[in-house]
Protein backbone atom coordinates (compact mmCIF):
# COMPACT_ATOMS: atom_id res chain seq x y z
CA UNK A 1 0.00 0.00 0.00
CA UNK A 2 1.61 3.30 -1.09
CA UNK A 3 1.04 6.91 0.07
CA UNK A 4 -1.74 7.51 -2.47
CA UNK A 5 -3.59 4.44 -1.15
CA UNK A 6 -3.33 5.63 2.44
CA UNK A 7 -4.54 9.12 1.47
CA UNK A 8 -7.49 7.66 -0.44
CA UNK A 9 -8.58 5.23 2.29
CA UNK A 10 -8.37 8.01 4.87
CA UNK A 11 -10.58 10.20 2.61
CA UNK A 12 -13.11 7.36 2.24
CA UNK A 13 -13.18 6.83 6.00
CA UNK A 14 -13.61 10.56 6.66
CA UNK A 15 -16.46 10.72 4.14
CA UNK A 16 -18.42 7.79 5.59
CA UNK A 17 -17.66 8.10 9.30
CA UNK A 18 -17.74 11.91 9.18
CA UNK A 19 -21.15 12.04 7.48
CA UNK A 20 -22.70 9.51 9.88
CA UNK A 21 -21.12 11.28 12.85
CA UNK A 22 -22.40 14.71 11.81
CA UNK A 23 -25.86 13.25 11.25
CA UNK A 24 -25.85 11.72 14.76
CA UNK A 25 -24.77 15.12 16.11
CA UNK A 26 -27.64 16.76 14.21
CA UNK A 27 -30.16 14.26 15.65
CA UNK A 28 -28.93 14.99 19.16
CA UNK A 29 -29.47 18.73 18.54
CA UNK A 30 -32.72 18.35 16.57
CA UNK A 31 -34.93 18.11 19.64
CA UNK A 32 -33.47 21.41 20.87
CA UNK A 33 -34.01 23.02 17.45
CA UNK A 34 -37.72 22.16 17.37
CA UNK A 35 -38.27 22.82 21.08
CA UNK A 36 -36.93 26.35 20.53
CA UNK A 37 -39.18 26.76 17.48
CA UNK A 38 -42.28 25.68 19.42
CA UNK A 39 -41.42 28.00 22.30
CA UNK A 40 -41.15 30.97 19.91
CA UNK A 41 -44.55 30.19 18.43
Amino acid sequence: MNGWDVFTWVAIAVLIVGAVGVFAWFLRDAAKLFRDTDRRR
Partner: protein, 495 residues
Amino acid sequence: MHAVDFAVVGAYLLAMIAVGAAVSSRITGFRDYFVAGGRMTAPLLVCTLVSTYYGLDVLFGNSEVSYLEGVVGFFGYTRPYYIAILLAALVVGRRLKRHDFLSLPDVAAHYYGNGTRVVIAVASAFYSLPLLSVMGIGILLDAAAGVPFAVGVVVGAGVALVYTLLGGLLADALTDTLQFVLMCVTLGIAAALTLREAGGMGAMQAALPASYFEPMGTYPVWVLVVFAGSALSVLIEPAFYQRIFAAVSYRAVLVALLVGIVLWAAYDWVSTVLGMAAAARGLDVEPRYALITLVLDVLPVGLAGLFVAGALAAAMSTIDSYLLIAGGNLAYDLYRPLVRPDLDDASLLRLTRWSIAAAAAISVAFALFFRSVVSAWIFMSTVLVAAALVPLLFALYAPWRPRPAAGLASSATGLAVAVGFFALVTAFGHDDPEWGTRIWTLRLGGRTIPLWQEYTLLFALPASAIAYAIGHLVGRVPAPAAAAAPADSGGRGTP
Protein backbone atom coordinates in the same frame (compact mmCIF):
# COMPACT_ATOMS: atom_id res chain seq x y z
CA MET B 1 -31.13 -0.21 -13.00
CA HIS B 2 -33.19 -2.95 -11.30
CA ALA B 3 -36.77 -2.47 -9.94
CA VAL B 4 -35.28 -2.35 -6.43
CA ASP B 5 -33.08 0.57 -7.51
CA PHE B 6 -36.12 2.44 -8.87
CA ALA B 7 -37.94 1.83 -5.57
CA VAL B 8 -34.99 3.29 -3.62
CA VAL B 9 -34.98 6.43 -5.80
CA GLY B 10 -38.78 6.79 -5.55
CA ALA B 11 -38.71 6.43 -1.75
CA TYR B 12 -36.05 9.12 -1.55
CA LEU B 13 -38.09 11.59 -3.63
CA LEU B 14 -41.24 11.00 -1.51
CA ALA B 15 -39.26 11.48 1.70
CA MET B 16 -38.08 14.91 0.52
CA ILE B 17 -41.63 16.11 -0.14
CA ALA B 18 -42.79 14.73 3.23
CA VAL B 19 -40.12 16.80 5.03
CA GLY B 20 -41.25 19.96 3.20
CA ALA B 21 -44.89 19.33 4.13
CA ALA B 22 -44.00 18.69 7.78
CA VAL B 23 -42.00 21.91 8.06
CA SER B 24 -44.51 24.15 6.26
CA SER B 25 -46.73 24.53 9.36
CA ARG B 26 -43.80 26.09 11.24
CA ILE B 27 -43.38 29.01 8.83
CA THR B 28 -44.86 32.17 10.33
CA GLY B 29 -43.16 34.92 8.31
CA PHE B 30 -40.47 35.88 5.79
CA ARG B 31 -37.62 35.62 8.29
CA ASP B 32 -38.72 32.11 9.26
CA TYR B 33 -38.94 31.20 5.60
CA PHE B 34 -35.76 32.81 4.28
CA VAL B 35 -33.24 32.36 7.13
CA ALA B 36 -35.02 29.73 9.26
CA GLY B 37 -35.61 32.30 11.99
CA GLY B 38 -31.83 32.53 12.63
CA ARG B 39 -31.77 29.33 14.71
CA MET B 40 -29.65 26.92 12.67
CA THR B 41 -27.26 24.88 14.80
CA ALA B 42 -23.69 23.81 13.92
CA PRO B 43 -24.49 20.23 12.74
CA LEU B 44 -27.44 21.45 10.67
CA LEU B 45 -25.13 24.05 9.13
CA VAL B 46 -22.49 21.42 8.30
CA CYS B 47 -25.08 19.29 6.49
CA THR B 48 -26.63 22.15 4.55
CA LEU B 49 -23.34 23.88 3.69
CA VAL B 50 -21.58 20.74 2.47
CA SER B 51 -24.52 19.42 0.45
CA THR B 52 -25.55 22.78 -0.99
CA TYR B 53 -22.14 23.84 -2.17
CA TYR B 54 -21.37 20.45 -3.71
CA GLY B 55 -23.75 19.46 -6.48
CA LEU B 56 -23.49 17.29 -9.55
CA ASP B 57 -21.25 19.89 -11.16
CA VAL B 58 -18.58 19.12 -8.54
CA LEU B 59 -19.11 15.35 -8.67
CA PHE B 60 -19.03 15.17 -12.47
CA GLY B 61 -16.64 18.12 -12.86
CA ASN B 62 -13.95 16.72 -10.51
CA SER B 63 -14.13 13.29 -12.09
CA GLU B 64 -14.13 14.81 -15.60
CA VAL B 65 -10.87 16.69 -14.91
CA SER B 66 -9.23 13.71 -13.22
CA TYR B 67 -10.37 11.33 -15.98
CA LEU B 68 -8.54 13.59 -18.47
CA GLU B 69 -5.69 15.04 -16.41
CA GLY B 70 -5.29 13.21 -13.07
CA VAL B 71 -4.77 14.67 -9.61
CA VAL B 72 -4.40 18.29 -10.78
CA GLY B 73 -8.18 18.68 -10.38
CA PHE B 74 -7.72 18.28 -6.64
CA PHE B 75 -4.40 20.07 -6.09
CA GLY B 76 -4.78 22.84 -8.67
CA TYR B 77 -8.48 23.58 -8.60
CA THR B 78 -10.18 22.58 -5.35
CA ARG B 79 -7.37 23.15 -2.84
CA PRO B 80 -7.46 27.00 -3.07
CA TYR B 81 -11.15 26.80 -2.12
CA TYR B 82 -10.30 25.39 1.31
CA ILE B 83 -8.08 28.41 1.99
CA ALA B 84 -10.88 30.77 0.87
CA ILE B 85 -13.41 28.91 3.05
CA LEU B 86 -11.01 29.18 5.99
CA LEU B 87 -10.83 32.95 5.37
CA ALA B 88 -14.62 33.09 5.17
CA ALA B 89 -14.88 31.21 8.47
CA LEU B 90 -12.27 33.17 10.39
CA VAL B 91 -12.74 36.67 8.98
CA VAL B 92 -15.89 37.32 6.92
CA GLY B 93 -18.28 35.25 9.02
CA ARG B 94 -17.33 37.01 12.23
CA ARG B 95 -17.86 40.46 10.70
CA LEU B 96 -21.20 39.55 9.12
CA LYS B 97 -22.59 38.02 12.29
CA ARG B 98 -22.30 41.41 14.04
CA HIS B 99 -25.21 42.59 11.88
CA ASP B 100 -28.67 41.27 11.27
CA PHE B 101 -28.75 40.98 7.49
CA LEU B 102 -30.92 38.57 5.51
CA SER B 103 -29.18 38.46 2.12
CA LEU B 104 -25.99 39.36 0.24
CA PRO B 105 -27.60 42.47 -1.38
CA ASP B 106 -28.73 43.53 2.12
CA VAL B 107 -25.04 43.97 2.99
CA ALA B 108 -24.50 46.12 -0.11
CA ALA B 109 -27.58 48.22 0.69
CA HIS B 110 -26.44 48.81 4.25
CA TYR B 111 -23.06 50.19 3.20
CA TYR B 112 -23.78 51.78 -0.20
CA GLY B 113 -27.54 52.23 -0.61
CA ASN B 114 -30.10 50.78 -2.98
CA GLY B 115 -28.21 51.44 -6.26
CA THR B 116 -25.48 48.93 -5.39
CA ARG B 117 -28.09 46.60 -3.88
CA VAL B 118 -29.87 46.40 -7.23
CA VAL B 119 -26.71 45.63 -9.24
CA ILE B 120 -25.61 42.93 -6.80
CA ALA B 121 -29.15 41.51 -6.49
CA VAL B 122 -29.35 41.13 -10.28
CA ALA B 123 -25.93 39.41 -10.37
CA SER B 124 -26.84 37.20 -7.38
CA ALA B 125 -30.22 36.15 -8.82
CA PHE B 126 -28.60 35.34 -12.16
CA TYR B 127 -25.80 33.37 -10.47
CA SER B 128 -28.30 31.47 -8.33
CA LEU B 129 -30.34 30.00 -11.19
CA PRO B 130 -29.41 26.30 -10.73
CA LEU B 131 -29.05 25.48 -14.43
CA LEU B 132 -26.23 23.01 -14.17
CA SER B 133 -27.76 20.95 -11.37
CA VAL B 134 -31.14 20.86 -13.13
CA MET B 135 -29.40 19.67 -16.28
CA GLY B 136 -27.31 17.24 -14.23
CA ILE B 137 -30.45 15.48 -12.99
CA GLY B 138 -31.64 15.04 -16.57
CA ILE B 139 -28.27 13.59 -17.58
CA LEU B 140 -28.08 11.36 -14.48
CA LEU B 141 -31.56 9.83 -14.86
CA ASP B 142 -30.99 9.41 -18.60
CA ALA B 143 -27.62 7.68 -18.13
CA ALA B 144 -28.63 5.57 -15.12
CA ALA B 145 -32.25 4.67 -15.81
CA GLY B 146 -33.05 5.60 -19.41
CA VAL B 147 -35.51 8.30 -18.27
CA PRO B 148 -35.90 10.85 -21.12
CA PHE B 149 -33.80 13.95 -20.43
CA ALA B 150 -36.78 16.36 -20.38
CA VAL B 151 -38.75 14.15 -17.96
CA GLY B 152 -35.76 13.85 -15.61
CA VAL B 153 -35.24 17.62 -15.62
CA VAL B 154 -38.89 18.37 -14.85
CA VAL B 155 -39.25 15.68 -12.15
CA GLY B 156 -35.98 16.59 -10.38
CA ALA B 157 -36.58 20.34 -10.40
CA GLY B 158 -40.28 19.81 -9.60
CA VAL B 159 -39.65 17.81 -6.41
CA ALA B 160 -37.02 20.29 -5.19
CA LEU B 161 -39.41 23.15 -5.97
CA VAL B 162 -42.32 21.61 -4.04
CA TYR B 163 -40.52 21.14 -0.73
CA THR B 164 -38.71 24.48 -1.02
CA LEU B 165 -42.00 26.29 -1.64
CA LEU B 166 -43.55 24.55 1.34
CA GLY B 167 -40.87 24.93 3.99
CA GLY B 168 -38.28 27.51 2.88
CA LEU B 169 -34.75 27.33 4.31
CA LEU B 170 -35.68 25.05 7.22
CA ALA B 171 -37.16 22.42 4.86
CA ASP B 172 -34.17 22.97 2.60
CA ALA B 173 -31.73 22.43 5.49
CA LEU B 174 -33.58 19.41 6.90
CA THR B 175 -33.71 17.70 3.51
CA ASP B 176 -30.05 18.66 3.14
CA THR B 177 -29.20 16.54 6.22
CA LEU B 178 -30.58 13.41 4.57
CA GLN B 179 -29.06 14.40 1.24
CA PHE B 180 -25.70 15.07 2.91
CA VAL B 181 -25.55 11.59 4.44
CA LEU B 182 -26.71 9.93 1.23
CA MET B 183 -24.26 11.72 -1.05
CA CYS B 184 -21.24 11.22 1.23
CA VAL B 185 -21.87 7.62 2.28
CA THR B 186 -22.82 6.36 -1.19
CA LEU B 187 -19.76 8.01 -2.75
CA GLY B 188 -17.53 6.55 -0.02
CA ILE B 189 -18.92 3.02 -0.51
CA ALA B 190 -18.68 3.29 -4.30
CA ALA B 191 -15.05 4.42 -3.99
CA ALA B 192 -14.15 1.61 -1.58
CA LEU B 193 -15.61 -1.08 -3.87
CA THR B 194 -14.10 0.48 -6.99
CA LEU B 195 -10.66 0.85 -5.44
CA ARG B 196 -10.67 -2.75 -4.28
CA GLU B 197 -11.68 -3.97 -7.73
CA ALA B 198 -9.11 -1.74 -9.46
CA GLY B 199 -6.32 -3.23 -7.36
CA GLY B 200 -5.56 -0.01 -5.45
CA MET B 201 -3.78 3.18 -6.43
CA GLY B 202 -0.61 1.24 -7.30
CA ALA B 203 -2.42 -0.56 -10.12
CA MET B 204 -3.78 2.80 -11.35
CA GLN B 205 -0.24 4.24 -11.38
CA ALA B 206 0.86 1.33 -13.55
CA ALA B 207 -2.05 1.84 -15.98
CA LEU B 208 -2.00 5.65 -16.31
CA PRO B 209 0.64 8.09 -17.64
CA ALA B 210 2.93 9.56 -14.96
CA SER B 211 1.47 13.04 -15.59
CA TYR B 212 -1.78 11.87 -13.96
CA PHE B 213 0.02 11.91 -10.61
CA GLU B 214 1.70 15.31 -10.99
CA PRO B 215 -0.06 17.71 -8.60
CA MET B 216 -0.02 20.65 -11.03
CA GLY B 217 -0.61 18.57 -14.18
CA THR B 218 -0.11 20.08 -17.62
CA TYR B 219 -2.38 23.15 -17.46
CA PRO B 220 -0.90 26.57 -18.49
CA VAL B 221 0.12 28.56 -15.41
CA TRP B 222 -2.41 31.34 -16.07
CA VAL B 223 -5.24 28.84 -16.02
CA LEU B 224 -4.04 27.64 -12.61
CA VAL B 225 -3.93 31.27 -11.46
CA VAL B 226 -7.53 31.74 -12.64
CA PHE B 227 -8.56 28.48 -10.95
CA ALA B 228 -7.07 29.75 -7.69
CA GLY B 229 -8.63 33.19 -8.18
CA SER B 230 -12.06 31.67 -8.75
CA ALA B 231 -11.90 30.43 -5.16
CA LEU B 232 -12.44 34.05 -4.11
CA SER B 233 -16.07 33.53 -5.11
CA VAL B 234 -16.47 31.81 -1.74
CA LEU B 235 -16.14 35.23 -0.08
CA ILE B 236 -19.32 36.46 -1.79
CA GLU B 237 -21.15 33.14 -2.17
CA PRO B 238 -24.88 33.87 -1.54
CA ALA B 239 -25.58 30.42 -0.06
CA PHE B 240 -22.75 30.91 2.48
CA TYR B 241 -24.06 34.34 3.40
CA GLN B 242 -27.62 33.09 3.83
CA ARG B 243 -26.43 30.33 6.15
CA ILE B 244 -24.25 32.69 8.15
CA PHE B 245 -27.32 34.90 8.68
CA ALA B 246 -29.40 31.83 9.56
CA ALA B 247 -26.89 30.52 12.12
CA VAL B 248 -27.72 30.61 15.78
CA SER B 249 -24.24 32.09 16.54
CA TYR B 250 -20.85 32.88 15.01
CA ARG B 251 -19.39 29.90 16.85
CA ALA B 252 -21.83 27.62 15.00
CA VAL B 253 -20.68 29.11 11.66
CA LEU B 254 -17.01 28.65 12.54
CA VAL B 255 -17.40 25.04 13.67
CA ALA B 256 -19.55 24.19 10.66
CA LEU B 257 -17.09 25.62 8.13
CA LEU B 258 -14.07 23.97 9.76
CA VAL B 259 -15.78 20.57 9.81
CA GLY B 260 -17.05 21.27 6.29
CA ILE B 261 -13.54 21.83 4.91
CA VAL B 262 -12.49 18.33 6.03
CA LEU B 263 -15.57 16.75 4.43
CA TRP B 264 -15.29 18.79 1.22
CA ALA B 265 -11.64 17.76 0.85
CA ALA B 266 -12.52 14.09 1.32
CA TYR B 267 -15.38 14.38 -1.20
CA ASP B 268 -13.12 16.10 -3.74
CA TRP B 269 -10.35 13.54 -3.42
CA VAL B 270 -12.66 10.54 -3.64
CA SER B 271 -14.42 11.86 -6.77
CA THR B 272 -10.99 12.65 -8.26
CA VAL B 273 -9.85 9.06 -7.64
CA LEU B 274 -13.03 7.68 -9.24
CA GLY B 275 -12.40 9.68 -12.42
CA MET B 276 -8.86 8.31 -12.56
CA ALA B 277 -10.15 4.79 -11.92
CA ALA B 278 -12.45 5.17 -14.94
CA ALA B 279 -9.47 6.20 -17.08
CA ALA B 280 -7.34 3.33 -15.73
CA ARG B 281 -10.15 0.88 -16.50
CA GLY B 282 -10.06 2.10 -20.12
CA LEU B 283 -13.67 3.32 -20.18
CA ASP B 284 -14.22 5.12 -23.46
CA VAL B 285 -17.03 7.53 -22.58
CA GLU B 286 -17.72 11.24 -22.61
CA PRO B 287 -15.49 12.49 -19.76
CA ARG B 288 -18.32 13.88 -17.63
CA TYR B 289 -20.05 10.44 -17.72
CA ALA B 290 -16.89 8.63 -16.59
CA LEU B 291 -17.77 8.47 -12.89
CA ILE B 292 -21.40 7.42 -13.20
CA THR B 293 -20.57 4.79 -15.86
CA LEU B 294 -17.81 3.31 -13.71
CA VAL B 295 -19.86 3.26 -10.52
CA LEU B 296 -22.91 1.66 -12.12
CA ASP B 297 -20.57 -1.00 -13.55
CA VAL B 298 -19.15 -1.81 -10.15
CA LEU B 299 -22.04 -1.49 -7.66
CA PRO B 300 -24.50 -4.37 -7.03
CA VAL B 301 -28.31 -4.05 -7.25
CA GLY B 302 -29.73 -1.86 -4.50
CA LEU B 303 -26.44 -0.04 -3.93
CA ALA B 304 -26.60 1.27 -7.51
CA GLY B 305 -30.05 2.75 -6.78
CA LEU B 306 -28.72 4.18 -3.53
CA PHE B 307 -25.84 5.81 -5.40
CA VAL B 308 -28.23 7.35 -7.95
CA ALA B 309 -30.35 8.61 -5.04
CA GLY B 310 -27.15 10.03 -3.50
CA ALA B 311 -26.24 11.79 -6.75
CA LEU B 312 -29.82 13.09 -7.02
CA ALA B 313 -29.44 14.31 -3.46
CA ALA B 314 -26.27 16.19 -4.38
CA ALA B 315 -28.15 17.94 -7.21
CA MET B 316 -31.39 18.63 -5.36
CA SER B 317 -29.68 20.02 -2.27
CA THR B 318 -28.07 22.57 -4.59
CA ILE B 319 -31.23 23.30 -6.59
CA ASP B 320 -33.46 23.97 -3.58
CA SER B 321 -30.97 26.31 -1.89
CA TYR B 322 -30.26 28.41 -4.95
CA LEU B 323 -33.93 28.60 -5.97
CA LEU B 324 -34.62 30.02 -2.53
CA ILE B 325 -31.86 32.60 -2.93
CA ALA B 326 -32.89 33.58 -6.48
CA GLY B 327 -36.53 33.95 -5.35
CA GLY B 328 -35.46 36.03 -2.35
CA ASN B 329 -33.30 38.26 -4.55
CA LEU B 330 -36.21 38.93 -6.89
CA ALA B 331 -38.84 39.59 -4.21
CA TYR B 332 -36.92 40.91 -1.19
CA ASP B 333 -33.92 42.60 -2.82
CA LEU B 334 -35.39 43.93 -6.08
CA TYR B 335 -39.20 44.21 -6.02
CA ARG B 336 -39.61 45.39 -2.43
CA PRO B 337 -37.06 48.25 -2.36
CA LEU B 338 -37.73 49.37 -5.95
CA VAL B 339 -41.50 49.00 -6.28
CA ARG B 340 -43.22 48.45 -2.91
CA PRO B 341 -41.09 49.55 0.08
CA ASP B 342 -44.22 49.26 2.26
CA LEU B 343 -44.84 45.61 1.34
CA ASP B 344 -46.13 43.73 4.41
CA ASP B 345 -44.56 40.49 5.62
CA ALA B 346 -47.32 38.14 4.41
CA SER B 347 -47.26 39.66 0.92
CA LEU B 348 -43.47 39.47 0.82
CA LEU B 349 -43.60 35.78 1.75
CA ARG B 350 -46.21 35.09 -0.94
CA LEU B 351 -44.24 37.02 -3.55
CA THR B 352 -41.03 35.17 -2.62
CA ARG B 353 -42.78 31.83 -3.22
CA TRP B 354 -43.97 33.00 -6.63
CA SER B 355 -40.47 34.22 -7.46
CA ILE B 356 -38.99 30.84 -6.51
CA ALA B 357 -41.44 29.15 -8.88
CA ALA B 358 -40.45 31.61 -11.62
CA ALA B 359 -36.73 30.92 -11.02
CA ALA B 360 -37.41 27.17 -11.27
CA ALA B 361 -39.33 27.63 -14.53
CA ILE B 362 -36.49 29.71 -16.03
CA SER B 363 -33.90 27.11 -14.95
CA VAL B 364 -35.89 24.24 -16.46
CA ALA B 365 -36.42 26.18 -19.69
CA PHE B 366 -32.69 26.91 -20.01
CA ALA B 367 -31.81 23.30 -19.21
CA LEU B 368 -34.21 22.01 -21.87
CA PHE B 369 -33.29 24.44 -24.62
CA PHE B 370 -29.54 24.81 -24.06
CA ARG B 371 -27.93 21.42 -23.62
CA SER B 372 -24.44 22.84 -23.15
CA VAL B 373 -24.39 25.30 -20.28
CA VAL B 374 -20.88 24.82 -18.90
CA SER B 375 -19.68 28.13 -20.33
CA ALA B 376 -22.93 29.75 -19.18
CA TRP B 377 -22.15 28.62 -15.64
CA ILE B 378 -18.62 30.07 -15.82
CA PHE B 379 -20.21 33.31 -17.00
CA MET B 380 -22.78 33.31 -14.17
CA SER B 381 -20.20 32.86 -11.42
CA THR B 382 -17.89 35.42 -13.02
CA VAL B 383 -20.68 37.99 -13.13
CA LEU B 384 -21.29 37.71 -9.39
CA VAL B 385 -17.62 37.89 -8.39
CA ALA B 386 -17.02 40.83 -10.76
CA ALA B 387 -20.01 42.78 -9.40
CA ALA B 388 -19.78 42.02 -5.69
CA LEU B 389 -16.29 41.06 -4.50
CA VAL B 390 -14.53 44.44 -4.52
CA PRO B 391 -17.32 46.63 -3.04
CA LEU B 392 -18.23 44.11 -0.34
CA LEU B 393 -14.69 43.42 0.83
CA PHE B 394 -13.95 47.17 0.98
CA ALA B 395 -17.22 47.74 2.84
CA LEU B 396 -16.39 45.11 5.44
CA TYR B 397 -12.67 45.80 5.93
CA ALA B 398 -11.57 49.22 4.66
CA PRO B 399 -10.87 51.67 7.51
CA TRP B 400 -12.77 54.50 5.79
CA ARG B 401 -16.54 55.05 5.62
CA PRO B 402 -18.09 53.52 2.46
CA ARG B 403 -19.34 55.99 -0.14
CA PRO B 404 -22.38 55.06 -2.27
CA ALA B 405 -20.68 56.28 -5.48
CA ALA B 406 -17.76 53.90 -4.89
CA GLY B 407 -20.04 50.89 -4.38
CA LEU B 408 -22.19 51.64 -7.40
CA ALA B 409 -19.26 52.45 -9.70
CA SER B 410 -17.37 49.34 -8.63
CA SER B 411 -20.26 46.88 -8.93
CA ALA B 412 -21.61 48.33 -12.19
CA THR B 413 -18.15 48.48 -13.80
CA GLY B 414 -17.26 44.95 -12.73
CA LEU B 415 -20.55 43.70 -14.14
CA ALA B 416 -20.16 45.63 -17.41
CA VAL B 417 -16.55 44.50 -18.01
CA ALA B 418 -17.45 40.86 -17.26
CA VAL B 419 -20.38 40.94 -19.67
CA GLY B 420 -18.35 42.82 -22.30
CA PHE B 421 -15.32 40.51 -22.14
CA PHE B 422 -17.49 37.42 -22.29
CA ALA B 423 -19.42 38.82 -25.27
CA LEU B 424 -16.14 39.52 -27.12
CA VAL B 425 -14.76 36.01 -26.50
CA THR B 426 -18.10 34.54 -27.58
CA ALA B 427 -18.23 36.68 -30.75
CA PHE B 428 -14.59 36.47 -31.86
CA GLY B 429 -13.26 33.35 -30.17
CA HIS B 430 -13.30 29.70 -31.18
CA ASP B 431 -14.14 26.49 -29.31
CA ASP B 432 -10.99 24.64 -28.31
CA PRO B 433 -11.68 20.89 -28.13
CA GLU B 434 -8.37 20.14 -26.37
CA TRP B 435 -9.13 22.32 -23.31
CA GLY B 436 -12.92 22.27 -23.65
CA THR B 437 -13.24 26.04 -23.53
CA ARG B 438 -13.59 29.10 -25.80
CA ILE B 439 -10.47 31.07 -26.70
CA TRP B 440 -10.11 34.44 -28.45
CA THR B 441 -6.68 34.68 -30.07
CA LEU B 442 -5.48 38.28 -30.28
CA ARG B 443 -2.52 39.30 -32.45
CA LEU B 444 -0.79 42.43 -31.18
CA GLY B 445 2.54 43.67 -32.57
CA GLY B 446 3.49 40.27 -33.90
CA ARG B 447 2.63 38.54 -30.62
CA THR B 448 -0.18 36.05 -30.20
CA ILE B 449 -2.22 36.35 -27.00
CA PRO B 450 -4.73 33.56 -26.28
CA LEU B 451 -7.58 34.93 -24.16
CA TRP B 452 -9.57 32.11 -22.52
CA GLN B 453 -13.12 32.85 -21.43
CA GLU B 454 -11.95 31.88 -17.94
CA TYR B 455 -9.73 35.02 -17.96
CA THR B 456 -12.75 37.33 -17.56
CA LEU B 457 -11.97 37.99 -13.91
CA LEU B 458 -8.40 39.06 -14.71
CA PHE B 459 -9.96 42.10 -16.44
CA ALA B 460 -13.19 42.58 -14.50
CA LEU B 461 -11.72 42.62 -10.98
CA PRO B 462 -9.02 45.29 -11.65
CA ALA B 463 -11.64 47.39 -13.50
CA SER B 464 -13.98 47.06 -10.52
CA ALA B 465 -11.17 48.10 -8.13
CA ILE B 466 -10.20 51.14 -10.26
CA ALA B 467 -13.86 52.21 -10.48
CA TYR B 468 -14.12 51.87 -6.70
CA ALA B 469 -11.09 54.15 -6.24
CA ILE B 470 -12.52 56.77 -8.61
CA GLY B 471 -15.95 56.58 -6.97
CA HIS B 472 -14.35 56.92 -3.56
CA LEU B 473 -12.39 60.00 -4.63
CA VAL B 474 -15.29 61.84 -6.28
CA GLY B 475 -18.19 60.52 -4.17
CA ARG B 476 -19.51 62.04 -0.98
CA VAL B 477 -19.81 60.44 2.43
CA PRO B 478 -23.55 59.98 3.09
CA ALA B 479 -25.33 61.39 6.09
CA PRO B 480 -25.89 58.54 8.58
CA ALA B 481 -29.65 58.41 7.87
CA ALA B 482 -29.08 58.03 4.12
CA ALA B 483 -27.62 54.55 4.41
CA ALA B 484 -30.32 52.05 3.55
CA ALA B 485 -31.14 49.55 6.25
CA PRO B 486 -32.28 45.99 5.69
CA ALA B 487 -36.00 45.31 5.57
CA ASP B 488 -38.31 45.70 8.50
CA SER B 489 -39.26 42.07 8.12
CA GLY B 490 -36.50 40.80 10.33
CA GLY B 491 -33.42 42.74 9.21
CA ARG B 492 -32.29 45.53 11.51
CA GLY B 493 -29.08 46.87 9.90
CA THR B 494 -26.62 47.81 12.58
CA PRO B 495 -24.83 51.09 11.87
